[in-house]
């Protein structure tokens, strides 16, 4: 058996090499380069990068545009998470009940998740269109003309309108994982609750929901990672971050800084800070939502 293990160990290098090589070159080294470049005053197409210490970080935190983008990113993440929570919970519970046409409902509700963010963003941009968009048309039809705003052009609604479009697509992921979580709960537990006289609502509140805690933790962390790096939705729906930067997020600002103003050092500092934020928030969420594991 030992010889057998030895002979298998000959696979290690040839099997690991391709993945390690590609991943290191195009995944890991770029990470190191980004962090490294954030301490430089890199400003041209050449690779000359004079050391600049922590000044980029001081500069970005004195930049009102960056603070605005950071705030918008936070609002995006928070509003998206809040808006997704209840509908996703309800739909995933409903989809695990014995109902007719379950497969069809499930398909239609999850399908947007499979679409390109660009298609979804264009779709919503057209739905929101103040001239021919059906949303405003519908509002006028039911006599709410004053509500028919230019959703993406109004500084008050632009960011929220993007959140709604994103939630519409991404709730599929929550529904997918939550309904998988509900299906994993053993039937005996539900049965025991019912025998004890718990109704549908009580069973859900006292049994199903607490047992889904682990899935929620996971969804929150996945959403943090995803929401803080939101880019395409904003880039497609409101060019240049919207009126007065009303929907500007960190990624759109950092690409503008890098590729329009050639402030590569600044852009790398923004990227590094965002990476740090993603890491810190994921770790903190993981730490503070830990509960004694419910065994079932």
């Amino acid at each position: 058996m030992l010889m057998y293990t030895r002979s298998r160990q000959r696979l290690v290098v040839p099997f690991l090499l391709p993945a390690l090589l590609v991943y290191t070159l195009f995944g890991f080294i770029p990470l190191l380069l980004t962090v490294g470049s954030s301490f430089t005053n890199w400003s041209g197409a050449s690779l000359h990068r004079p050391f600049y210490g922590l000044r980029n970080y001081v500069l970005i935190f004195m930049d009102p545009q960056f603070l605005n983008a950071l705030r918008n990113t936070g609002v995006f993440a928070l509003a998206g998470g809040v808006l997704m929570f209840l509908p996703a919970l309800f739909v995933s519970w409903a989809l695990t009940q014995k109902i007719a046409l379950r497969g069809l409902y499930r398909y239609v509700i999850i399908a947007p998740l499979m679409l390109s963010v660009v298609v979804v963003s264009l779709l919503w941009k057209l739905l929101y269109n103040p001239v021919f968009g059906p949303i405003n048309n519908l509002l006028r039809l039911i006599g709410l003309s004053s509500w028919a705003l230019p959703w993406l052009g109004d500084t008050r609604t632009a960011l929220l309108a993007i959140v709604v479009a994103t939630v519409w697509q991404q709730q599929g992921m929550w529904i997918l994982l939550l309904s998988a979580g509900i299906e994993r709960i053993p039937e005996e537990i539900m049965e025991a609750a019912r025998v004890d006289g718990a109704g549908e609502w009580r069973t859900f509140r006292s049994v199903t929901f607490p047992l889904l805690w682990g899935v929620f933790r996971l969804l929150i962390i996945l959403w943090i990672i995803q929401a803080l790096q939101v880019f395409a939705q904003v880039y497609v729906m409101v060019p240049f971050g919207g009126v007065g930067g009303s929907a500007d997020v960190v990624t759109t600002l950092l690409y503008q800084r890098a590729f329009s103003s050639s402030q590569f050092g600044i852009a790398c500092a923004m990227a590094t800070f965002l990476l740090f934020l993603i890491l810190a928030l994921s770790v903190l969420t993981n730490r503070f939502t830990r509960r004694d594991r419910l065994e079932f």
Binding site: L16, L127, L218
Partner: protein, 294 residues
């Protein structure tokens, strides 16, 4: 009698919640279906008709011309094949290299199993869009020096990045898959004198086929939909569908040729919807496993 009353009450309560379920689920689905029905109807209108009629009106004469215009003049046809090429090659490449690595990490004990596995997992938390700037500029510099544009634009760097960005998810899911396979097969093959290489390709690889397929599908879908890296590395001539649509939408703002854009959106969307309808279980299974184990 009391018992009967209890049953009756429970039944009524039951049907109330049932009614609410159907109502809310139907509303949910209806809004999505209505949005796509709107896109479909407009894709069959002419631009003047679209701008002058109600969004809810049916097209007077179904105008399939829009699809031809989108496919040929707006180059959606070219983008379509670019997307198929990029998504297939990228997903195959990433799943292949990941399967090899995942097998070794899961089943061959060596000194750094855990460390290598964790190294790959770093990529899970590090979005490529936040780390690409220096690499992009270095590749551009390399092209300038060598005079070879292929280093910083076109399919080659894009595919390399697509393969790399898939590795964290793929090694993770496939690792779980290989760990779950029984070890007797490998041992039996070894007793029969098969080399480890042969054991992998003839026994373990076929056994993990379903895992490979669902990983491939998830990679394919995400590359089919990928926008950001395409925006950096591709041009209007070499674009994939999401990028091509983005440029088409930009053009529509000036030319007001909206109806072609709607046709283009459907051409992009329908294959994905069909693929998902046919392979829903494999796709969702892979996504759930990847996330839950993570």
């Amino acid at each position: 009698m009391r018992n009967l009353g209890g049953t009756k009450r429970r039944l009524r309560k039951f049907s109330w919640s049932r009614g609410a379920i159907y109502l809310l689920l139907s509303l949910f689905c209806l809004s999505t279906v209505a949005a796509f029905a709107w896109v479909f109807m407009i894709s069959l209108k002419t631009t003047p008709e679209f701008l002058s009629t109600s969004p809810w009106s049916l097209p007077q004469h179904p105008h399939f011309e829009n699809y031809r215009v989108a496919w040929q003049r707006a180059k959606i046809g070219t983008y379509f094949f670019n997307s198929i090429l990029v998504a297939t090659v990228g997903a195959c490449g990433s799943v292949m290299v990941s399967a090899l690595a995942a097998y070794v990490i899961a089943r061959v004990p060596f000194r750094a199993n855990g460390a290598v596995g964790n190294f790959f997992l770093v990529g899970y938390m590090v979005p490529v869009m936040l780390t690409i700037i220096p690499l992009f500029l270095m590749l551009a510099d390399l092209s300038n020096r060598t005079g070879l544009r292929g280093f910083s634009s076109g399919m080659a760097p894009l595919l390399a990045l697509y393969v790399a960005t898939g590795i964290p998810f793929n090694t993770f899911v496939l690792r779980g898959f290989y760990e779950s396979l029984p070890s007797q097969m490998e041992e039996a093959a070894a007793v029969d004198g098969a080399s480890p290489m042969r054991t992998f390709f003839q026994i373990m690889l076929p056994l993990s086929w379903s895992g490979l397929v669902s990983t491939f599908l998830i990679n394919f879908l995400s590359l089919w939909n990928e926008f950001f890296l395409a925006l950096l590395f591709l041009t209007k001539e070499t674009a994939t569908l999401p990028l091509g649509l983005f440029y088409m939408a930009q053009r529509a703002e000036y030319t007001a040729q909206w109806t072609d854009l709607f046709a283009g959106m459907l051409i992009t969307t329908v294959p994905v919807l069909i693929l998902f309808a046919l392979l829903q279980d494999q796709v969702t299974k892979g996504m759930t496993e990847g996330a839950v184990k993570g």
